[in-house]
């Protein structure tokens, strides 16, 4: 193949150059043609910028849809959708209390695809909060945070917090009643921290109330600071997946024998070229090449098809939801007329529910404890057993505790969202 390549590039007559132009362009961008051999599959993954984050080969277990449910990828693709739609929305948005709401009306009324963009951004944001949370549950229930993946769990928890904060900062931007009062309530929850609560709120809002300063700060956080931080952490999160030995899976011995032993056929490398390395054959944090039972498949096309599948599913879901439901836009801000009840964004309604019992414990104590516990999970649970299986028996206690934690928070959010009416009194939604 490369011999043909050489022959073409040696012919320098004009007509030949022109004739070969498309192919030359193509091959300068994509170093390899669509792979037809295993070597090609390996080379493709290895030399393409966008693909080189993948290992050349992945464990079969990693590709089992019932193991990961694709939740991590889904979170990432939602982040990508949010970035793209967000950038497009930025072309129309002005973070000014005078103009923001009018811009929303323009988006809805006269900007091409404006409504749809806003719907997509809104629902993808809500979706991301849910999916990131579910991803965390998946990782816990499969014991995937255990050594050597402790730190990646910590990064994951930070990413969850950043997701929540991104969604929270974006909530204010439409500058309607929903936004204004949700942020007012949310920012008030911050004041319940002892000693520094007021300062935190002032730092966040740039004022004692939600106003122009708050809008500008939230905007900058939402479109610059938080996405950059998240991108960085996502990159580290991905990088560590590979350095920690790929996705978690049961220890090799547990895998039924017989599925492996498909040795990679070595095509003799062309003279002068180094032999390609099996960088992808990573089990554990270090690269091992040897005659261990091989339970892996090539990333191209197996992993890529799976990823494409998750992407299309995610995109389709976001599109359908955006077509069916419009992102809410309530009255323009009226700082003198709070709705009753004034509710925080739904993912903070669990906190608001707790705050209704005790301002300090609901607003600061319990959430801080929860975050601290989440961060410490891999350092508290040092038992190496039960990794790579859903609800492993050895992890009954840990899983029960986490399930209680998750249900507790979800339950509070459900109560806060559906069962709280005027004056935060108990109501039934039907």
């Amino acid at each position: 193949m490369s011999a043909v390549h050489d022959k073409i590039s040696n012919d320098t007559s004009l007509s030949s150059v022109l004739r070969q132009l498309p192919r030359n362009l193509w091959s300068s961008v994509f170093r390899h043609p669509l792979p037809s051999s295993e070597l090609g599959q390996a080379q493709t993954s290895f030399s393409n910028f966008f693909l080189h984050i993948h290992p050349v080969k992945v464990n079969r277990h990693t590709l089992k849809p019932t193991y990961t449910l694709g939740l991590g990828l889904m979170s990432f693709f939602l982040f990508v959708i949010l970035t793209v739609t967000g950038v497009l929305l930025m072309f129309y948005y002005v973070p000014s209390t005078d103009q923001a709401y009018d811009r929303m009306l323009d988006l809805r009324g006269s900007v091409a695809f404006g409504t749809f963009l806003r719907n997509m951004h809104r629902w993808a944001a809500h979706g991301m909060v849910i999916v990131v949370f579910l991803h965390m549950c998946r990782v816990f229930f499969t014991g995937s945070y255990k050594k050597p993946r402790e730190f990646n769990w910590v990064i994951g928890v930070l990413l969850l917090l950043l997701t929540l904060f991104s969604s929270f900062t974006g909530y204010l931007l439409p500058w309607d009643q929903l936004a204004f009062w949700a942020i007012t309530v949310g920012a008030t929850i911050a004041t319940y921290a002892p000693f520094i609560g007021q300062k935190i709120q002032f730092l966040l809002l740039g004022d004692n109330v939600v106003g122009q300063e708050a809008l500008l700060r939230f905007y900058v956080l939402h479109v610059v600071v938080l996405p950059l931080l998240m991108s960085l952490l996502i990159a580290i999160h991905f990088w560590r997946i590979r350095k920690d030995g790929g996705l978690s899976r049961p220890p090799e011995a547990e895998v039924a024998p017989g599925a492996s032993e498909i040795a990679v056929k070595l095509v003799s490398p062309p003279a002068g070229k180094q032999s390609f390395g099996f960088m992808g054959l990573v089990r554990g944090p270090f690269v091992k090449v040897g005659n261990v039972p091989d339970n892996t498949v090539f990333s191209w096309p197996h992993l890529l098809t799976a990823e494409l599948f998750v992407f299309v599913i995610t995109l389709a879901a976001v599109l359908v939801v955006s077509l069916l439901f419009h992102a809410p836009l309530e009255e323009p801000v009226n700082a003198l007329h709070p709705p009753n009840p004034a509710k925080a964004p739904w993912y903070f309604l669990g906190l608001q529910e707790l705050v209704s019992y005790s301002a300090f414990w609901g607003g600061v104590g319990i959430p801080a404890l929860e975050v601290l516990l989440l961060l410490l999970v891999p350092y508290l649970d040092r038992s190496p057993h039960g990794v790579g299986r859903w609800f492993a028996k050895e992890r009954l206690l840990a899983n029960t505790l986490f399930l209680t934690f998750a249900l507790f928070n979800v339950g509070l959010i459900v109560i806060g969202t559906l069962f709280r009416g005027p004056n935060w009194e108990f109501v039934t939604p039907w």
Partner: protein
């Protein structure tokens, strides 16, 4: 997985198709194309025809910068023929906006010239609606989140069905006319003028404040009512005040549909700052207002003076809608005491002073201090004095029903129809623990002479002593029911044993702050943190007419031995001495002397 992938991809493409279709086939484009076609066929010159030929659908908009915040009105995107006189016969949206001399349009030799040119004024300044919207749903404000739907045309689906039919009609637009045409009697806004008149006639101004017009404090401020509320809410709040807030004590006024409409339009026109005002003008007006009451307030439209003072007073009382709260004859507002026999239970100086400042005589009264002229007050007093009680019925039961039940309730349980609005609340006469702890003479005296500082009137001019004694007996047999023990007079001094002095008052204050604030409150106004859970409510110790009317002995007895049937405990059980009680009495009396002086000042 391949099938699923294919289906998902199909969905992605299908959604794109729908979205693109929506984006490129707008309804307004069809309207505009229809307009171009018709205008082309009606074109009188080749040039005009060519012009129409060349026009392509596009979003039309008017930028209005002359009136307040800049407006963007894209209404003419659909209503593209609104300024084209040839389309007057067509239906919306391709219809010419009507011309009318009432709008100031001028007909010059068959050609109409608009007074309010659309290029200068836009559309939403008169019509409301959402100028930036390009679909009917959003532009006309059918979206119930939009605060200003097309006024008089669009009703939102959240509005109550029963009011929706009243809320249509172009007369509602007068509220927007008045944003520039602020003259009180501007010919184009007769309903604003009518609403303003009703606002005074029905005494709305007594409770509601509108900056520059009135300064009532009982009800919500209405200065920006037109900005804050939609017309359905205004309508409902007038015809059924309790629909929005269950605790509202605003009366249901007897208003005709036209009157309600005029009031709604008047209130809708109150938007705080109107388009002719600058913030400087407002500031200047506010500065001047501090020294003088709003001009409009002291001169509500008056009926012509008549020679007969009583007849004039009657006229005033009827016109000022006193019966919106009070009962006079067969008119009953259901909120305030019965005035049908006011002449028999009150005297002229009391009525006159009460008119000027109700709270000087009944400190917790909710009656507003209306700013009528002295002559009006005198006439109204004369009329009320002329109202005498009927001959009392024979049986005490009927007497109770006629005179007492409005406050104390049919069963004497203090839950009469107006009890909620009377402060201090009427006594619960069925509470045996209290009733049996006091000598009957005290009840006889209360009925005879009334209780100062409360709504309890003196009945001695209506009922004879024997009738009153019979009434008290009736109350004890029919309402108290339980027989109490024989009361022994306690050994207490008639006068406060501790002479009043700054030291004594200071000691009393210390005791008060330590023992009494939980119920009576730090300000001694009866509104301590526990007061809401206590019935009867703790006494307002700043009620000077009441405090001045009771003896030292009664106060010391109440403090040391408590008041049975209430939350007031016997403090003697907690180690309080007569001397401590004496200090407390001195302290409490010092409060009312001070506040009495303050109230007199306020009344003047």
């Amino acid at each position: 997985m391949k099938l699923a992938l294919a289906i998902a991809s199909l969905i992605v493409f299908a959604v794109h198709g729908v979205v693109f279709y929506d984006q490129f086939f707008h309804k307004w484009e069809r309207y505009q194309t229809a307009y171009f076609d018709q205008a082309r066929s009606q074109a009188r010159s080749e040039l005009e025809r060519a012009e129409m030929e060349a026009r392509r659908p596009r979003i039309e908009q008017i930028l209005v910068t002359n009136f307040g915040a800049a407006r963007v009105d894209r209404c003419t995107t659909c209503h593209i023929a609104s300024d084209d006189p040839r389309f007057s016969g067509l239906s919306h949206p391709l219809k010419t906006h009507p011309y009318s001399t009432a709008l100031g349009d001028i007909n010059q030799a068959g050609r109409w010239v608009r007074r309010h040119k659309f290029n200068d004024f836009g559309c939403t300044i008169c019509h409301d609606g959402q100028g930036r919207g390009l679909t009917e749903y959003y532009a006309h404000g059918e979206d119930h989140y939009w605060p200003e739907p097309l006024i008089g045309y669009t009703v939102q689906h959240t509005w109550k069905k029963e009011y929706q039919k009243f809320l249509k009609g172009k007369e509602y637009m007068q509220a927007n006319c008045a944003q520039c045409h602020t003259e009180e009697n501007f010919a184009g806004t007769p309903l604003i003028a009518k609403g303003r008149r009703l606002f005074f006639e029905k005494n709305c101004y007594g409770c509601h404040r509108i900056e520059g017009i009135s300064d009532g404090t009982l009800g919500p401020e209405l200065t920006e009512a037109g900005k804050k509320f939609k017309i359905d809410y205004l309508w409902e709040s007038i015809v059924d005040p309790r629909a929005g807030m269950a605790t509202s004590f605003m009366p249901k006024f007897r208003l005709t549909e036209d009157e309600v409409k005029a009031l709604v339009i008047f209130l809708k026109s109150r938007k705080g700052i109107n388009l002719t005002e600058t913030s400087l003008a407002l500031f200047r007006a506010r500065l001047n207002q501090d020294s003088a009451p709003p001009a409009a307030m002291s001169q509500p439209s008056l009926p012509a003076p008549s020679l007969n003072l009583v007849a004039r007073g009657k006229e005033l009382v009827e016109q000022r809608a006193c019966a919106a709260c009070h009962k006079i004859g067969d008119k009953d507002g259901g909120i305030a005491p019965d005035l049908s026999f006011e002449g028999a239970i009150k005297d002229e100086p009391w009525l006159l002073e009460h008119f000027k400042n109700p709270r000087a005589l009944i400190p917790d009264s909710i009656m507003p201090a209306f700013r009528f002229s002295q002559a009006d007050f005198e006439a109204m007093t004369a009329y009320l004095i002329s109202l005498k009680a009927p001959t009392p019925p024979a049986s005490p039961a009927e007497i109770f029903k006629l005179f007492c039940a409005r406050c104390h309730g049919e069963k004497g349980d203090g839950q009469g129809p107006v009890a909620l609005y009377v402060d201090p609340a009427p006594r619960d006469l069925t509470k045996a623990a209290f009733m049996n702890s006091k000598p009957r003479e005290r009840f006889v005296k209360s009925i005879q002479e009334g209780v100062p500082g409360t709504s309890m009137a003196a009945w001695q001019n209506v009922l004879s002593e024997s009738q009153i004694r019979a009434l008290v007996d009736y109350i004890f047999t029919a309402m108290v029911k339980e027989r109490g023990r024989e009361l022994k007079a306690r050994n207490l001094p008639e006068q406060n044993p501790v002479p009043s002095s700054p030291q004594s008052i200071a000691r009393g204050e210390q005791t008060y702050l330590a023992r009494c604030t939980g119920c009576h409150g730090r300000k001694a106004d009866g509104k301590g943190p526990n007061s809401l859970d206590i019935v009867p409510r703790p006494r307002n110790l700043r009620n000077s007419p009441f405090i001045q009317s009771i003896s030292d002995r009664r106060m010391i007895e109440s403090i040391l031995y408590g008041i049975q049937g209430t939350a007031m405990p016997p403090w003697i059980d907690y180690g309080m001495s007569q001397k401590d009680a004496g200090d407390l009495v001195n302290y409490i009396r010092s409060l009312t002397q001070a506040s009495g002086r303050r109230q007199l000042r306020a009344g003047r």
